[in-house]
Symmetry: C2
Subunit: 207 residues, 2 copies
DNA sequence: GTGGATAGATTGACTGGTCAGTCAATGCGT
DNA sequence: ACGCATTGACTGACCAGTCAATCTATCCAC
């Protein structure tokens, strides 16, 4: 019973990562000290450097861990044989549920990486771009099927869609928008309806 | 001829602000040193502290100067008697033209303030919120006129619209999206068409 | 079982470098 | 000669990362 039994040896590396999420969310990456993370994890200062080569690498690890899960999800959604609306709905649901489940983690990823294109965004630009690219693929397919207008660039549409979701999360993160289960479900519907159906009331098809 | 004549005394304060835009855009607020700004402005280190109480206050000044112009523009657009599409188009045009005219300045505002909600965004949350609020008002009016669907929250729609624009600017800033006069004009049209008309091809109004 | 050897985990005081902000001195226009 | 503009060396604080010392688990010889 030495490997994965209950109450196994405490996983300090995990404890440090979890503590870092809380500290980064509370104080921001630049504003916090490495000792804040160590204290939050209940661990000695030096131990962080036993598991990670630098403070930056802690954030990188958190981001890659989480972003990888999202990319995988988009990949799977894209492969399914369902209408575009459902595909985009699934992506919106996943991201919003991620926030509901772990708001601190999403705050760190968005505020410190995704929207911090100067510092960490630069490092992970490739990963971030990959998400846009895959959403763009979904849009392109819908255009080929005649469901989406052909005269709006797919990559542009992808940025609009993802940008809208991220903007709403940012609104929740900084208390600009009301939160709660109802708001989350409504947001999922509204973001898809806005991007796919538009804000205008339905009008007759062009002659 | 002492006040505003050509070749008046060099305005060091202005020189510092202009230099700060370039330096912040190039290196980021946190990564740059005060001496970088002074050097770029061709001015002694200490002079910056003659005109500004701190490094932060330089950024605050830049942001408030520029953001105020934008708020004023939205206020004027809102007051006009034109269709929603034109109102939103005017806002999109203004922001995109601002980027065309001074990309460094827009980069600084977006990267260091608007999307840095942890540090400076917090300070200026009120100002940022005011922009969302005014766009929301435009949406609400359109809903009352029956032009926009009533079942999408106006504040939500406002964030989607503004978020889409900001996401596209971010795409330009970090080289994810092609730039140029054509791209800029296309973007203006596409952002309005996407948010108002939706990505889906026109369908008949619901029975 | 007991001693003790080995390796990895853990500790936290310390170092070196960085940099925002200060200030006394100097320049210059009026 | 007065006051504002300008200079840049200096200070004090801060903090990421290092490292030698200590602890603990595991295993082997006997």
């Amino acid at each position: 019973m030495s490997s994965t039994g209950a109450k196994a040896v405490p996983d300090r590396r995990r404890a440090i990562l979890d503590a870092a999420v809380r500290v980064f969310a509370r104080q921001g990456f630049h504003a916090c000290r490495v000792s804040d993370i160590a204290d939050e994890a209940g661990v000695a200062y030096g131990l962080l450097y036993h598991y990670f080569p630098s403070k930056e690498e802690v954030l990188n690890t958190l981001f890659l861990e989480r972003w990888g899960v999202m990319l995988q999800m988009i990949r799977e959604v894209d492969a399914e044989q369902i209408p575009v609306r459902e595909k985009l709905g699934a992506i919106a649901s996943f991201i919003i549920d991620s926030y509901r489940h772990d708001p601190d983690m999403m705050k760190v990823i968005i505020v410190e990486v995704t929207r911090a294109a100067n510092s960490f965004g630069q490092t992970h630009l490739g990963q971030i771009r990959e998400a846009y690219r895959m959403i763009g693929t979904i849009v392109t397919k819908a255009q080929r099927e005649g469901v989406f207008k052909p005269d709006i660039d797919a990559e542009f549409a992808a940025m609009t869609f993802y940008g809208a979701i991220e903007q709403v999360l940012t609104g929740w993160i900084f208390g600009l928008l009301p939160q709660g289960d109802e708001a989350f479900e409504r947001a999922k519907q509204m973001v898809v309806e806005t991007v796919c159906g538009g804000l205008e009331v339905a009008r007759a098809p062009a002659a």
